[in-house]
């Protein structure tokens, strides 16, 4: 136990902890922006939506270590390249959920909004996005947890982060160093999962929450 605490107290530990968070937050944010832009672009076309979902599904299938490693000969080592690979990883779950979420909004609701004189943009921002918000948040949550986990692998392409300690422990044959890294990563992942679960609940519009409760009561 003491030996794990020793690792936590190393000066570089905080630095790598922050790098890990930085990588995860930035990758999820970039992924979110790209995925939402694409989802909004393909929103009006059935074909484009199907293509986007299929690409998203294939993207989700690609193992995380493979995305990082395949970027290596192209982008090389370092923080920026790890960030680039993690961003690619973050896009798919958000993209799938955003496209599906925006499109599953009831056609009658959209018709009613159009009848009330709302423009396409108003329908998107005032109706489709709020109704799709919980599904989109579920996608962001999946992405964020996955990115936090995969940022551990950034160590293999020289990106730093908490994975450094897991690998260092292996190289020195000292499980306690690995354990310190693993505990910190697990802690981050659980915080992310729980945090986004709470956010998801707060971002569900009140009307939708009522509807869900009613459906459950049936």
């Amino acid at each position: 136990m003491d030996r794990i605490l020793d690792v936590f107290q190393r000066r570089d530990f905080i630095a790598n902890f922050i790098i890990h968070i930085e990588l995860s937050v930035l990758a999820t944010l970039f992924g979110l922006v790209i995925a939402m832009l694409v989802a909004i672009l393909v929103n009006r076309s059935d074909t484009a939506s199907t293509i986007a979902i299929n690409i998203g599904n294939i993207g989700r299938a690609v193992p995380s270590l493979c995305i990082l490693v395949l970027m290596l000969p192209i982008a090389g080592l370092g923080f920026d390249n790890a960030l680039f690979a993690l961003t690619l990883l973050a896009i798919s779950p958000i993209l799938i959920n955003a496209v599906v979420g925006l499109r599953q909004v009831n056609a009658q609701i959209i018709d009613a909004a159009r009848g009330m004189g709302l423009s396409g943009r108003q329908i998107l921002s005032g109706i489709q996005l709020p109704i799709a918000a919980p599904i989109i948040f579920a996608g962001i949550r999946t992405s964020a947890v996955q990115v936090v986990a995969s940022a551990t692998l950034a160590t293999f392409i020289g990106g730093g982060g908490l994975g450094d300690y897991i690998v260092e422990g292996f190289q020195r044959g000292d499980i306690y160093i690995s354990l310190a890294g693993a505990l910190a990563v697990a802690f981050l992942a659980i915080i992310t999962e729980v945090g986004f679960g709470t956010l998801q609940r707060t971002f569900t519009p009140k009307g939708l929450r009522l509807a869900q409760a009613r459906a459950r009561a049936k």
Binding site: P63, L65, C66, V69, L72, T152, I166, L179, V185
Partner: protein, 246 residues
């Protein structure tokens, strides 16, 4: 390589840089096809087969655990919460960390901790889909079966499970893809498989090796995904009919 804005204490990056300088000339071009041709049956094929073997064994064990647990949870609702809470906890732990925890509680490096981790990751997905699948069977159908004189056990095996199968297969699809991805990392703790090529390629700074490993693992995951989508459709022809009728 960058040196000024190097992240602090990225010892590993430093090691890689040193290797890069010394071994970069060894490989001609992006992929050394000659090497690949010579070592294909010796290194690449066994790693590929081992990868499939790991995933198949893990999935079979996970199914054997999830089916009874899922059936139980569908019957006794109170169990569903605890089941998903526990398996959800496993699912959230990053795989690289999970391997360390398994080693720390006494497993030795090798195939066993790799398979245990892969099983733990599949449980949440599989149990959830077994329950959702069983829930999707209309109560009228079950009533009709009971009216025809089937016992509870017969209803489960002949009515509920066959109707739930497409949803269960949909869960298997997600589980398979997840497991193939995590098995790549499992090579680090001696699980074997395609990750072996990736990790030894990285330490030896030999792109041919890690690119081959990564490309094959990616192709394996994508083809498994497509295969299960097909199976899922074959098993639920009625879903097509309704979609076509719209």
């Amino acid at each position: 390589m960058d040196s000024a804005d190097d992240p602090p204490t990225s010892t590993l990056a430093f090691l890689f840089q040193a290797e890069f300088a010394s071994e970069e000339q060894q490989q001609k071009g992006f992929i050394d096809w000659e090497w690949l041709g010579e070592n294909f049956t010796e290194d690449v094929v066994p790693a590929f087969l081992q990868h499939i073997y790991l995933c198949a064994v893990a999935l079979a064990i996970a199914l054997a655990i999830s089916l009874p647990l899922g059936i139980l949870a569908a019957r006794y609702r109170g169990l569903y919460g605890p089941f998903t809470a526990i398996t959800g906890f496993f699912y959230t732990i990053p795989s690289f960390a999970m391997f360390i925890f398994l080693l720390a509680i006494g497993f030795s490096v090798g195939v066993t901790p790799a398979i245990i981790a892969l099983v733990l990751y599949s449980l949440l997905i599989l149990i959830r889909n077994v329950v959702t699948g069983l829930d999707s069977v209309p109560p009228e159908t079950k009533d009709a079966a009971r009216g025809m004189g089937l016992t509870d056990r017969q209803i489960l095996w002949r009515v509920e499970l066959p109707l739930a199968l497409p949803v269960i297969v949909a869960g298997m699809r997600i589980a398979v893809v997840t497991v193939i991805g995590i098995a790549v990392i499992a090579s680090y703790i001696g699980g074997g498989g395609l990750g072996t090529l990736i990790f030894s390629g990285i330490t030896r700074n030999f792109p041919t090796l890690y690119v081959t490993g990564a490309v094959l693992a990616t192709l394996l995951a994508i083809s498994a995904d497509l295969l299960f989508v097909r199976t899922e459709r074959l098993l639920s022809p009625w879903a097509h009919r309704t979609r076509g009728a719209r």
